[in-house]
């Protein structure tokens, strides 16, 4: 039985592939990964990709918060981390009276959790001239009580002209504690004004959370006509956030997971396509030329076969560099060896076929015979091998990233796991930091393994016989 007799037409391959359930599952997984990639490219701001490793970008988010949906069970509801900004969440009104202009940004918060927020922050950004505006913050509670928690003038402007000023008022601010001291009488028990996040959200009769709708109003008093509010915001610190929670560095893991998909697909496909094509041509040349060429090329192949991959990858990325393109290159160096062996053995069979001999007798060049008569016969097998090689490439990159040797400028799943391991996420029970990235690595690898195995079962003569 010769390999050529086994070569199927494209139509037959597609028809047989449609019958393979596991292959179709693989295709389905791959499609959803591609949709994820398109979604992250279209909907998630590119800034989050570039700023992945800059702590300032993520300052508004909570540290190591669990995903929001962990609240859906029967247990006590943990407060969700809320980041409210003027553009989306505030209702803005302004009025003016006797030369004083009042701008009110009011935020409505539905607080139905079983414990207090861990802290809160009030953000504002104002442009003003010579006379300092005044900021007043009030909280209207569900029980009808209204607390004025902050009242202060902004710092005097440096230049007389238009001065932009942004700042945050933290819940630990002394001014808030002082203001709250006036309201201790509201409570039937002793309340501590130095913990405003508790006092503001506490029931007045007994020591528990007062659930309901709170309105937080930031009121700005302006004394000059050109002064204006640029932005404002309220952050209520919580222990759950987003679809996938956050890590120790406050980064939204959902974004990291999303961006990891295109990176993994890029690395997996580039490495496997490059490595398999190199191996294909290398093996076919060795098999077709035979004799000394074959012997020499296969000795080199043997040497590569015996090199320990990971230690050398480590050395290479420590010394040469860690950019994603370099890593892709390193992985190619170790990836082509197996394909070269397979394609050589098939080329050995193909070169004795009559049509190849005929081409040779007609005086066609070796280059022509290899690329026009032998390699096309091997293409179906090549596609199967490319799919099979993807998981190894993805695992290789993940392993390097996990060792802390990945591209530091790009979020990858391996890197997220590296940071999780460094922070001891497993011992601390931060499962949302560990499970999704690893699962994504496994699922991506699995998709290609399923497609590859299904294709291989169709096109590889050896597995067909099984």
């Amino acid at each position: 039985m010769t390999a050529a007799a086994e070569v199927l037409s494209r139509y037959e391959i597609i028809r047989e592939f449609r019958r393979s359930k596991s292959g179709l599952v693989g295709i389905a997984i791959l499609l959803s990964l591609i949709i994820m990639t398109i979604y992250s490219a279209a909907a998630v701001p590119l800034e989050s990709f570039r700023q992945w490793n800059s702590p300032n970008f993520w300052i508004d988010l909570p540290k190591a918060a669990a995903p929001v949906w962990t609240n859906f069970g029967f247990g006590p509801k943990i407060p969700e981390h809320m980041v409210l900004h003027a553009a989306d969440d505030a209702s803005i009104s302004s009025s003016s009276e006797g030369g004083i202009r009042t701008v009110v940004h009011s935020y409505t918060v539905n607080f139905n959790y079983d414990s207090y927020p861990s802290d809160f922050m009030l953000l504002y950004s104002v442009r003003y001239g010579g006379t300092q505006p005044v900021l007043q913050v009030d909280v209207l509670r569900p029980d009808g009580n209204e607390f004025q928690i902050y009242f202060a003038s902004l710092p005097s402007s440096q230049q007389g002209g238009n001065n932009e000023f942004s700042a945050r008022v933290f819940s630990t601010d002394r001014a808030i504690e002082e203001s709250l001291r006036d309201y201790t009488g509201v409570f039937a028990y002793r309340q501590d004004p130095s913990r405003p996040q508790v006092m503001i959200f506490a029931d007045s009769q007994e020591n528990k959370v007062l659930k309901g709708t709170y309105v937080i109003r930031e009121t700005f008093y302006f004394f000059e006509p050109n002064d204006s509010v640029l932005d404002s915001g309220v952050i209520l610190g919580g222990k759950v956030y987003g679809l996938m929670g956050t890590d120790e560095l406050r980064r939204d893991l959902a974004i990291g997971i999303l961006w990891g998909a295109p990176v993994a697909l890029f690395i997996g496909l580039t490495v496997s396509i490059a490595a398999i094509l190199i191996g294909l041509i290398y093996g076919v040349v060795a098999g077709y030329k035979g004799n000394r060429t074959d012997e020499g090329l296969m000795r080199i192949n043997d040497v590569f076969y015996c090199l320990p991959t990971l230690p050398l990858l480590v050395i290479l990325s420590v010394t040469v560099g860690q950019s994603i393109f370099l890593i892709t290159g390193f992985l190619v160096i170790f990836g082509w060896v197996g394909m070269a062996k397979i394609s050589r053995s098939i080329a050995l069979q193909l070169k004795n076929l009559q049509y190849v001999e005929a081409a040779k007798l007609m005086g066609q060049s070796d280059f022509n015979i290899i690329f026009r008569h032998i390699i096309p016969q091997l293409l179906p097998l090549t596609f199967a091998s490319i799919a099979i090689a993807v998981p190894a490439a993805i695992l290789g990159e993940a392993a390097l990233s996990f060792l802390g040797l990945g591209d530091p400028t790009i979020p990858t799943w391996g890197q997220i796991l590296h940071e999780a391991n460094t922070a001891g996420a497993a011992e601390r029970g931060l499962w949302w930091w560990i499970v999704p990235p690893g699962l994504m690595i496994a699922i991506t690898g699995l998709a290609f393994a399923l497609i590859g195995n299904a294709l291989d079962a169709i096109v590889n003569p050896r597995s067909r016989r099984m």
Binding site: V303, F402, P437
Partner: protein, 349 residues
């Protein structure tokens, strides 16, 4: 010369080439960094000598500095470090030094006995790595053989399909990630095993060995449950092949019980290629050991490697790369030989 001895010769030459190629590549990539480290070490020695030698007195700081520079240069010249690392003499010298693990002192690590000699540090870690990975290999092999034979006999059954599914599934999982999940499950959620696998009892304590074994359990279980599925799958492939042979049909005809045919006759005939394939591939997975040890904090070479990368301790990195290459290459070599010895087709190809 016979076919086998020619094969042996070819393989041995290949092994030497691989070892040498790895060494040259390592030295090529890290040569200049190593030189810098060596010169720094010499300077530190000279400064120490100046500080502790009471006979040496200098009237000015400049004079002291001059003395230090002069003596450092002198030693650098005696050692031949003034030549660039790629000069033939230096290069051979470095390669030879790496071969006998004469890599000087580590900057950050010490062995249990307090030595900061690279060779001591590395050799102290080797037994732990070997212990963990040979134990897990043995267990995987045994489970793989019996599970493989079991499903081979029920080819196409639910068990068989389940095993194939798990084989594909488990080979897509990074073992180290499963390790993190195991730590979460059995160290955080249920306090059954310690999260960190480095025992707290000092090595001199008689209870150390027992403690080490207890700490080894979680990494061991992890490696085994990720590993055995795909091995059972491979065993199944071989056993199914053997079961279709004529002599098995003859045994069946002779009325030998099916159980005995599968587990005794078929398995025995399929075992050898299987064992060599397993050994070969586990040698390949040795690189993965780096990460598994790092995740579990198992005090082996992999953990040391991980720490050395974090601290960029070049002498340790070079030494470990070399040692793991040697282990890997020798395993590949031995499996090749054993395999060839029993399977004559390999020699011809």
């Amino acid at each position: 010369m016979g076919g086998f001895s020619r094969f042996l010769l070819k393989r041995s030459i290949n092994m030497v080439i691989v070892l040498f190629a790895t060494l040259v590549l390592t030295v090529f990539l890290l040569g200049s960094t190593m030189d810098k480290i060596l010169v720094d070490a010499i300077r530190v020695n000279v400064v120490e000598e100046v500080n502790y030698n009471r006979d040496l007195r200098f009237s000015t700081a400049a004079e002291r500095q001059h003395y230090i520079d002069e003596h450092t240069d002198l030693q650098v010249k005696t050692l031949g470090l003034d030549e660039p690392w790629y000069s033939p003499k230096r290069f051979t010298n470095t390669v030879l030094k790496v071969m006998i693990l004469d890599l000087g002192k580590s900057n950050y690590f010490t062995s249990d006995s307090g030595s900061s000699n690279v060779r001591d540090i590395i050799l102290e870690r080797v037994p732990n790595t070997v212990l963990l990975f040979t134990t897990s290999t043995l267990i995987i092999t045994v489970i793989g053989l019996y599970l493989g034979a079991f499903v081979a006999n029920r080819s196409g059954s639910l068990w068989d399909r389940l095993n194939s599914a798990f084989a594909v599934f488990s080979s897509s999982f990074p073992t180290w990630w499963v390790g993190m999940l195991m730590i979460f499950a059995f160290a955080f959620a249920y306090h059954i095993f310690p999260a960190r696998s480095t025992p707290l009892t000092p090595p001199s304590d008689p209870a150390y060995a027992l403690d080490l074994l207890y700490h080894m359990l979680l990494p061991l279980i992890t490696i085994v449950i990720v590993g055995f599925w795909s091995w059972a799958y491979i065993v199944r492939y071989f056993v199914v092949g053997v079961l279709s042979e004529d002599y098995i049909a003859a045994k069946r005809a002779a009325g030998i019980p099916e159980k005995r045919i599968v587990y005794s006759h078929a398995l025995k005939n399929a075992a050898l290629p299987i064992v060599t394939v397993i050994a070969l591939s586990l040698a390949g997975s040795f690189g993965g050991a780096i990460i598994v040890e790092a995740v579990f904090d198992w005090p082996g070479m992999g953990k040391l490697y991980y720490d050395a990368i974090g601290a960029l301790d070049i002498p340790i990195i070079i030494g470990l790369t070399y040692v793991s290459t040697v282990i890997f290459v020798i395993t590949v070599f031995l499996t090749d030989i054993v395999y060839a010895y029993f399977d004559p087709r390999v020699k011809v190809a």
